[in-house]
């Protein structure tokens, strides 16, 4: 059951990722990317990471992709469609991408023995009775408190940057 679900979601993810890269209309590309991100959220749920899956749907699909669609709407779509969609180096880039893919898969397959060790983290063991969201929240506010605060400062800086960059006189 789990394996079947994994292969269905993986096929959907790869198909939608390829469509995202290949679509000539940016709006279609954005919709395909939304589908790919939803498949990825399904994989997160399959792995038992409910919090990350929910954040993926809320932040990525609900926030970032809506932002992308707004920007696509602001810059003219019709002009983008008629032009060539790939640049001059696309053949080299495609070959390099396929080589990179094979190289990484080769490394993972050859190094698969490293992952088979049954080491279990001592401190934060996933327990069936505690909820995933509760445990992640506890970790965010205890062990990872400083990175959490730095992330909030980063978001503030990004917000100010976005406001300043889109001003009229710039």
């Amino acid at each position: 059951m789990e394996a079947a679900l994994f292969y269905i979601l993986a096929t959907m993810l790869v198909a939608f990722a390829i469509l995202t890269v290949m679509a000539s209309n940016p709006v279609r590309s954005a919709v395909y990317l939304i589908s790919a991100l939803l498949s990825m959220a399904g994989l997160f749920f399959l792995l038992g990471a409910e919090f990350v899956g929910a954040v993926q749907i809320l932040v990525y699909v609900g926030g970032i992709m809506v932002l992308f669609l707004f920007v696509i709407m602001l810059v003219s779509v019709r002009e983008m469609e008629v032009q060539r969609k790939v640049n001059r180096q696309w053949k080299t880039a495609l070959v390099l991408g396929i080589v990179l893919s094979f190289e990484l898969v080769f490394l993972v397959v050859r190094g698969a023995d490293i992952f088979r060790t049954d080491t279990v983290g001592q401190e934060w063991i996933l327990e069936a009775q505690t909820l995933n969201t509760e445990t992640v929240g506890g970790l965010l506010y205890s062990t990872y408190l400083l990175p959490f605060e730095i992330a909030s400062v980063l978001l503030l800086v990004a917000m100010v940057a976005a406001v300043v960059l889109t001003q009229k006189q710039l």
């Binding site: 394996a3 994994f6 993986a10 993810l13 790869v14 990722a17 390829i18 995202t20 890269v21 940016p26 590309s29 790919a36 991100l37 990825m40 994989l43 997160f44 792995l47 038992g48 919090f51 990350v52 932040v59 990525y60 970032i64 992308f68 920007v71 696509i72 810059v75 983008m80 032009q83 060539r84 969609k85 790939v86 640049n87 880039a93 390099l96 991408g97 396929i98 990179l100 893919s101 898969v105 993972v108 698969a112 279990v120 983290g121 401190e123 063991i125 996933l126 995933n132 992640v136 970790l139 990175p147 992330a151 980063l154 978001l155 990004a158 940057a161 406001v163 960059l165 889109t166 710039l170």
Partner: protein, 100 residues
């Protein structure tokens, strides 16, 4: 039970698709979307190892990666809008102001 290697191979494939998208497309917005795809494939790695090692730190770092992706998207799209105002284009090979 799906082996963690399957997740890693899926993640590398999605990452490579993102790399091809960044290298081949001309539209800045689609390049930014490919970068989001690459960041998300890294998240899949983190969550798969979190499940494998039964350690929640991987999921916490996946949340941080999502935060950084949100900040990157906001700034990147701000740059795209200001670029479109000034140069009337979103194609990367027409943006050569630094070439002199």
């Amino acid at each position: 039970m799906v082996d963690v290697t399957h997740y890693l191979i899926l993640s590398t494939i999605v990452f490579s698709i993102g790399v091809v998208g960044v290298l081949t497309r001309r539209n800045v917005i689609i390049i930014l979307m490919s970068i989001e795809l690459m960041l998300n494939s890294v998240n899949l790695n983190l969550v798969a190892f979190s499940d494998r090692l039964q350690d929640l730190s991987g999921q916490v770092f996946a949340v941080f990666v999502i935060v950084v992706a949100a900040a990157e998207a906001a700034v990147g799209l701000g740059i795209v809008i200001s670029l479109f105002r000034n140069k009337e284009t979103v194609n990367v090979d027409e943006i050569d102001l630094l070439r002199g």
